[in-house]
Amino acid sequence: MIVRVRLFAVARQLAGKELVEVSLPSGGTIAQLRVALPEQFPALAPLGRAAMFSVGAEYADDNTRLAEGADVACIPPVSGG
């Protein structure tokens, strides 16, 4: 399946776009997305394991299963305040 992942801040800058489409096995998890993202978009490798992910605008842990069309975002370490 294809999962569209929104990118912010340095992630967007590294990828050069706001949204990337990542191929994942059907029913794949955030943990699998974590591995697939830098494989399919090597520019994002510098994020390492520091980025979090959200699904439906809420933080999602590594076990969260993804569906095609899910609202997924990559959340690099935040620096608001």
Binding site: A9, V10, P46, A73, V78, S79, G80
Partner: protein, 143 residues
């Protein structure tokens, strides 16, 4: 009350909003754009956020604080976009009957906001470089 805004933060308005005849104490925290970070000089900051999620996270912070402390009114505002030196990027205002709680809740709100709300700042260094700030990631130069 929470807000994400591209306009300058109006502290006087926030203080009005949290004022109450039931309050004996108000604590306002402002985060402001500081020129020096160690030896490095900033000329401006740019803030961006993931709007839907930042909004939710801020609302959740307010709800958590209200569940934990007897807060009368609470206002959390984060500025977005381009900020000059000295401008406020964030404001947290809390009113309570007694001051212990106002200090404790305001401190918790700003500490937690900085850890969890998906907002990011980009430094515009005086040497012309720009850099997204991501605590825990190596500086851009070393990535």
């Amino acid at each position: 009350m929470i807000e994400l805004t591209h306009r300058p933060i109006d502290s006087a308005e926030l203080l009005c909003k949290v004022g109450s005849n039931q309050a004996g104490a108000v604590v306002l925290f402002l985060g402001t754009v500081r020129e020096m970070t160690g030896e490095r000089r900033t000329i401006a900051l740019d803030y961006e956020c993931y709007p839907e999620m930042a909004q939710r996270q801020l609302a959740d912070l307010e709800a958590q604080a209200r569940a934990r402390w007897p807060i009368i009114e609470c206002a959390i505002v984060h500025r977005l976009g381009h900020l000059e030196l000295g401008e406020a990027s964030v404001a947290v205002a809390v009113s309570t009957a007694h001051r212990d709680v106002a200090f404790e809740a305001a401190r918790w709100l700003i500490d937690t906001l900085k850890q969890v709300v998906p907002i990011w700042k980009k430094e515009n260094w005086a040497d012309g470089a720009t850099e997204w700030i991501h605590p825990g990631l190596p500086p851009e130069a070393e990535r």
